[in-house]
Symmetry: D2
Subunit: 280 residues, 4 copies
């Protein structure tokens, strides 16, 4: 994979935005690898991948030169450099199917991120994480307020970009949700908005649905109600017990989290109110 810059933009819609931006890129010889657009409620969203070696300057200089146009069009914008890995701090409890999946994608090079540490309220997964030479940090949950302050501190200290709740069985306090808005990703084990909260497979079993699902979403103050990034479902039938649903569900959970996280890491997700635009 060649190095590339990813330019993401959100601004009020009007005629000529694409032309203005692509003109700017073309004037400097920028080679566009991928381009996506979307308009929603008079707001325009845009993502451009540009080959780094086609430009005569680096990312900082790009930003300096682009700033005037961005100002003129009232843009909310960002330039990401594929050479700078995002830093994921992962929170887990005892269940390890999502963690195993993410660490495999990481060590095989499929998921190009840095994982400065894994934090857990249990000791169970220490050996597995440490085999990967990733620091494993145990945080005691007896004093919840202190524990979450500790987690936030560790996140800062490890210069985390994104906090991933890989089946972390604790509810984050509103303060942390707000401080890191758009940077905390959770996997919920139901097809939201069905079966919010605890024991969703049990709820699904009792309601007698014919498919179960999982949802990857940004965490907000409202439990399981943040912007949805990715979802999927699979068929079950009357013969499946709650244990079967839990077992099938693990496969959907890890796939949905991996896909959603990949979109996030590649700057494909733009938040618009309580919804997401995902430029696949």
């Amino acid at each position: 994979m060649n190095r590339h810059y990813t330019l993401t933009i959100s601004c009020p819609d009007r005629v000529g935005i694409i032309a203005a931006v692509t003109d700017f890129i073309a004037q400097h010889g920028g080679f566009i690898v991928e381009a996506s657009y979307h308009t929603e409620e008079e707001q325009f969203f845009m993502r451009q991948e540009i080959r780094a070696d086609s430009l005569p300057f680096d990312a900082d200089e790009f930003c300096r030169r682009f700033a005037p146009l961005a100002g003129e069009l009232s843009m909310d914008w960002k330039l990401a450099d594929s050479a700078k890995n995002k830093r994921l701090v992962i929170l887990v409890s005892k269940q390890d199917h999502c963690l195993d999946d993410l660490l495999h994608r990481w060590r095989s090079g499929e998921l190009q991120v840095d994982i400065p540490c894994v934090i857990s309220n249990h000791e169970d997964l220490r050996s597995f994480v440490e085999w990967h030479r990733i620091p494993f940090i145990h945080v005691d949950m007896q004093d919840k307020a202190a524990a979450f302050e500790k987690i936030a501190e560790l996140f800062e200290q490890h210069r985390g970009d994104t906090l991933v709740l890989a089946r972390f069985m604790q509810i984050l306090p509103p303060g942390i949700c707000q401080r890191y808005a758009g940077r905390i990703i959770n996997i919920h084990h139901s097809f939201l908005p069905s079966f919010v909260g605890a024991k969703p497979y049990h709820q699904a079993y009792l309601r007698g649905v014919k498919l179960i699902g999982a949802t990857c979403h940004y965490v907000t103050r409202d439990l399981d109600a943040g912007p949805i990034i990715e979802q999927d479902t699979m068929r079950i039938d009357h013969g499946d017990t709650v244990d079967d649903l839990v077992r099938y569900g693990r496969d959907i959970e890890k796939t949905v989290l991996a896909r959603g996280l990949r979109y996030h890491v590649e700057d494909r997700v733009l938040v618009c109110g309580n919804k997401t635009i995902v430029f696949k």
Copy 2:
């Protein structure tokens, strides 16, 4: 398709039920084409398809002879004869995608039922229904109580087995729901329990879900909360408008209704509390 009898049974679970029933069938030379079992909460459910020509007597005689065993094991049971078509009375409003789909399956012989009439609160679909030589009956909805009494009357008069709400945009009164419990089938245009009630595609759009769905269920007094027979979902993305969801949704609705209805017509659905067992 050869003629066959379908025996469906529900009774308290204990050792030896399968043996007792299959013994009875084998003693009379009955050839079992398909057999399914399920146990839930100490209740046993069973479905057997038997080739009619392998038995030395007809359905009535089968029932007479089977009754003692059924009594002994406290069975709730039924024998259906594939030579006797179920009679579906279809309710529609203005949207015709489900109706078109059902009538095509009927006229091609795929759905082996009788359709004694189609009832509607609008005149729009008269010509299409009458082209099929099926009576089309318009019922005025100004006086709702009278209208529903009329519908129940028509259902009785046409000796309907099942009332199919093929995107009928009116809520049935509790009295009718109870009178025909397990005999009224609705298609709801969401993946229940999400988005109960009106405008589910609009609700789905606002929530920003990444898949939409449809649900075929038995109608009970509780709106959109009856036993689910069949569901399915399909992927959408941020570029899809509410109109797109409505358009995609039509395809899921007709497929899910057709599948659910087929299971019902072939006596594959057994109700257990507010859930269904579907012997596919």
Copy 3:
């Protein structure tokens, strides 16, 4: 749906194409509704939907003014006007599930096309087609060469844009395939390249596959080997007979044909060698 123009372009890839085209559009106040790009083997592909009422001139004038730029960049290009319906001539035999599906989408306004006639080698579907007030033309297949000459004549005479083989059970001669390259669409009842030719469900049954599928593709001289537009699959199991596969398959066939045809009609499909780019 507002009137819009759809500009599709294929040209050798280089820096600045998007900028040049979107500049041209922006200079005339053109409001871009949807934009898609793709590069494959140094060829660039592009599709732009522009709101007609945002431009100060009509489609013809757009073409006149755009021609110099198109020439400069060696473009193969086309401008379609959403106000001018495509004209589909449909070929059928005796099976009507795809025809029923297409005509329903047409009469409900979902598929915005004109259908000047339906041609068949059998009389079976006359009444159904004529109920729609669409001319039904029977062509005798005894003399195949003459029959296909007649079909080509009818296609010309009715000013057809696209010839749709909606389960037409005859193989088109190479001459017609070449004359109307990229304008003939077939639905094949397997997941190509598996099970080319006759009786694909029978082949699938014998091989013991666990999913069956359907393929919508452009027709070329090579049987079932033309560029694929759309495909889908569904799960079957050991209990399904060939007749069951045929029955399930009808549902996939009609969905896949409807989707593929819609992409084609909306100028979303660009052919690149023996593959398609589908800008969804």
Copy 4:
């Protein structure tokens, strides 16, 4: 999960088989947990799960007592005891996504088997396997005949029940395929029968298919042509490179292998000619 016995039977079809078998079970108080039947080409197939603690004797005694009935009905039959884990010997090369997936399912208790060793023609995965405290054995492939003889020896020596090719990049010699017929399971990275042999994702890319797939099958002398146990597909589009297909494909491969292997391990798969019956 309670201990249970799984009785699988194949015999010529006739009236009364189910009655005879379930009678036998009921006479000894056997409690049937799950029962499945299928008839194909006048051969009858049957699977019964019986709760071990409902029977007054053990598996050996069951077999002794059942043998006369089995003989009478010319049965090919087997009784498996859930308390005796199947022994899987896994063959890998360098790619570890399937191995990682299987070992995670194993260590979490989801896949109840023993894994006496993992054999590889490369050293790459030693550390990961050994972290699980499973012996890792490297076999040099320079002399292929000797290498395969060594593999067969190791399989015997470790009392393997099933040989799992978890993306093992070598073709097994016919002798081994025959010796262990119905006991060697492979995951092929295409939706067979499409794209047999090498580089199936490359073949899929060149053909321009709109979905890719994977196939779990028993290995026979005919390359990629053995009885199919499980398959699945996923959607791709024109924007996906061969590398993207390979990446997506890994997710299907591991899911399909895990599902197919689970069916095999739970004695749900019966082979019938070159097809499988899978009692889910």
